[in-house]
Structures are given as structure tokens and as C-alpha cells.
Symmetry: C2
Subunit: 274 residues, 2 copies
């Protein structure tokens, strides 16, 4: 049977591009929210799911982190990093100077602010639910307007690309997590994502964990914190480490977390995206 | 001359309540965005500004963190922690069973989701730009509808409080930062907020800083990371420490940061909110 991969939709968004890149031969199905992608995994409806987890400009996607924290049976089994390249999309034959309204997701509008000010000063910008929804609006509009979206949205909605790479910061990439009911077997070039918290806020507890990682010569790629929802000073720390949980160093670090933290969870080990 | 305190408006929001609590005798002026509050400080228009910096359920307010990172002449000089208590506001005489639409900021709607499902199943919820804007909408509506907002919004917009404390999680507090052109002199019960980053992602750099804090017996209240915007693996780390930058331990830690990090900035030392 063909593998089913759930992704944060709709079609024509960057997450769909990530899903196509990850699983070109699978059946891809869009879901309306990150939490519904997670439910598709926990319900056994889909074998894998693709959700954004981090952007180089905006930082972590908190919805994804909070859902991973809450769902002990959902694991990270892979990652992909894709450049975010915004295009200006119009109906065929529209000219730059006739554009009256530009639609897009608020984040895409924000990421192209300088471009819009330099080229479309005074043109109204309108927020859409996604870059794909913006393309759909332009397709169905009777006016001459434009959307900021992907090249894929252009072909899906029969629009013309008036200009490519209109984002202000050319280094704009998004990291996507591949989630599933289990993580990935060792490949020799793996990383492990995990999280932990402490009951009390005794000084040095976080330092103790960091020391353990350092003593085991484990490289820490990332450290992040999320509120526990219990008290303002209490956090769940999320870290990305080099190595697989089946390897000796990470396994010993996990043993330490089991003993020294009040709660921890391994999101999974998976091959580093290269 | 009366002190001018800028705050993230409009009137009737939790940030206004924080501003009133912080400076009951000052002239308070609402600003439309966090960045405009920061500009009011850098332009010398206001002497102090009040902005939300962290919520116990949602986590950090990234806009505030990113603006502090970008504005080297804006300092944190105080903090306040306020409970978030949502109320159901209606026009005088409206009855629960007649309510057709409930307006509020998306975050307030999300924080009262269980209450709304239990008591207003099937009633339409509509997103507003702020809880105060929601109260204003109810005031001017010809229908019988409701807003989720503060007790202060009720009195400002002449609405009746149908029910108090309707938030699902009773432990819902927001921390506000008092910002200004300088930080606070030592009081003996202080904390210091600062941030730093590294040019390369050599393992152990962050650990080295943590070790320094531990060796100096400095308690770390919080650690957070924000993207540098340069590369996906590069972060700016933001920490809150116990102690004043004028005290010997924190002063030595700052000397260390000056030597061992590629960039750092002290947001300020200020009395801990108690």
C-alpha cells in the first residue's frame, strides 16, 4: 500500500514542498493545523507527518514544540531544511503598475516588507490564512491584484510569477520535522531531540545537565525553553544533541536525565539534514 | 513635570493595568505596538515604557525580546507580574442565553476555550485586535453579544461583568518589563537580564558560560534562545540572573562574557518583583 504522509496544508505552501521533497512517491494529504497532523499520526491515519519546527528569522514554531511535549507517542524521525523563497504571483498578463492589492500570510508580508515599500509603496496589503489562500484569492478576484507565495502555488492556481526571491533577508530557511509513531534507526550521522524539566528551581540543576553533556563530549546544537504552564519560573528545556540515543554517549546522558530531572522525554533520534 | 509612561495600548488591556499599578501618579499614554513603545523611549518622548515580556502559558513575547536585542539604548529597569483574569462582558441587561457572538483577542479566546465550550457551545467566536477592541465592538453592536476582557474594560466601555475569572487555567500570569533609557540602581534584591551569542557553534561554548555562572554561584532564573537571523544553528541566548550588575559576582560574569562571547548586551539590572 502507498505510504500516507500528512502535512500542514493547504497545497502550495512551503510545508507541502517539504513533504514532496521528503516523500516524492507517497500519497500526501494536507491537514488544516499542526495539531491535526499530530492527530493523524496518533490515530494511525498517516504513517508520517511533516510540520514546520523552526525558522531562521522567526525562531521556533511553538505550536509544534508544545504538541511534541504533550504527545508522548509522537516522535521526530527526520528533518528537512528548505529555503523560504517568496514570489510575486499575478493572473496572467497583469502588469506591476496595475496591482492594487497584495495578499499573503502576515509572516510572508513581513518578510517582504522592504521589497513592498520599494516597489509597491501605497499598495494595500491584506492578510490571508496562508500563502496558498492568497494565491487562491488572486485567482478568483476580478481586480488586478497579487499574492506572495511559492512557485508551486503559481502552478497550482494557474498564476504567473512576476518576480522571484522577493524576501528581504536572503538567508531565510525553515526546518521541518518528520514525525511518526517511532523515531529513526541509527545512520551514523544522527541527532537526538529531547526535553526535560525540574520540580524545583534550585540553582545549578540546568547547569548539572549541561555539565553532563560536556563531560560526555556531546555537542549541544540548540537549547530552548517553553513554559510548563504551572509557574512563571518553571520551564521545560528542549535540546538538540549530536548522536543517536542508541549510541553510548547519548544513552548515558539519557540515564542521567532519568535520575536527575523530574520529567524528561526523548522526541527521537534521526539523521541530520545535510 | 509629571512623568510620562508609554504602554502597549489600547486602554483597558492588561498592559494598561500593569502601567497603572507601576505608576499610579504618572501620565499614561497608550501606543499601538511594542515597537512604538520602544521608540517613545529612544526618542525621549516617554521616561518609561511598559510592555509584556512573558506569559506563564504562552511563553516569551518574542517581539519584546527581539526589540530589546536590537535597541542598545533601551534598558529593563523594572518588572511586574500580574494575574490574567478574563471576564465575560456584556451590555447592561443582556442575558447569557441571548448571546450570539463572543469577541476577543485570539489568545484570550484560546485561554477560555473550555469555559466557552461548556457554556456557549455553538456560539460564534470572533477574533479582535485586543480585548479592549472586543469590548468596544460589544458597546457599539446592535446585537446581543459579549466580549472577553478585563474588569477595567468593563468600566471604560460601560459594560456589565456577567462572569469573572473565566480562564481555563487559573494559574495564568503575565510578566511585564518596565523599560527606559537606563536601568535601576541596586536595591539588594535584584536580578539582571542579559544576552550573548557566539560567532561559531563550537561545542561547549554555552557550557563554558553556564560553568562560569555556576562557579560564581550565580543563580540562573531563565534561559531562552532567539535566532540571530544569520544561520539556522546560530542563536542569541537570553538569561535572567540573580544579582545586580554592580555586585561583584555578576560584574565578574559580565567580564567573562566580554572576553568569551562574540557579542553580548546587558538589558539591565532591576528589583525582582515580589
Amino acid at each position: 500500500m502507498q505510504k500516507l504522509v500528512a502535512y500542514l496544508g493547504p497545497e502550495g505552501t512551503f510545508t507541502e514542498s517539504a513533504a514532496i521533497k521528503h516523500s516524492p512517491d507517497a500519497k500526501l494529504k494536507p491537514y488544516p493545523s499542526i495539531s491535526s497532523v499530530v492527530s493523524a499520526i496518533t490515530d494511525g491515519e498517516a504513517e508520517e507527518g511533516i510540520v514546520p519546527i523552526e525558522n531562521s528569522l522567526q525562531g521556533s514554531v511553538n505550536d509544534t514544540l508544545d504538541l511534541l511535549i504533550q504527545h508522548p507517542k509522537t516522535f521526530i524521525r527526520g528533518e528537512l531544511v528548505l529555503p523560504v523563497e517568496h514570489c510575486l504571483l499575478v493572473k496572467r498578463g497583469s502588469k506591476c503598475e496595475d496591482i492594487r492589492v497584495i495578499y499573503s500570510h502576515p509572516q510572508a508580508l513581513a518578510q517582504c516588507r522592504n521589497y513592498l515599500e520599494a516597489n509597491f509603496f501605497g499598495v494595500v496589503t491584506v492578510a490571508s490564512l496562508s500563502t496558498a489562500a492568497a494565491a487562491d484569492q488572486v485567482k478568483n478576484s476580478k481586480e488586478i491584484d497579487a499574492a506572495i507565495g511559492t512557485t508551486r502555488a503559481a502552478s497550482l492556481y494557474g498564476l504567473e510569477i512576476l518576480e522571484k526571491r522577493i524576501q528581504d533577508n536572503q538567508y531565510n530557511v525553515t526546518r521541518f520535522a518528520v514525525i511518526g509513531p517511532s523515531d529513526h534507526e541509527p545512520t551514523g550521522r544522527d541527532k537526538t531531540s529531547l526535553c526535560f524539566s525540574f520540580e524545583d528551581d534550585r540553582p545549578g540543576l540546568l547547569y548539572g545537565v549541561m555539565k553532563q553533556f560536556a563531560d560526555l563530549e556531546i555537542n549541544l546544537g540548540k537549547i530552548e525553553s517553553r513554559p510548563t504552564g504551572k509557574s512563571l519560573g518553571q520551564y521545560i528545556f528542549l535540546v538538540d544533541l549530536d548522536g543517536h540515543r542508541a549510541g553510548p554517549a547519548v544513552a548515558r546522558a539519557i540515564e542521567y536525565l532519568d535520575k536527575e530531572t523530574s520529567w524528561f522525554r526523548v522526541f527521537g533520534s534521526y539523521p541530520r539534514y545535510e
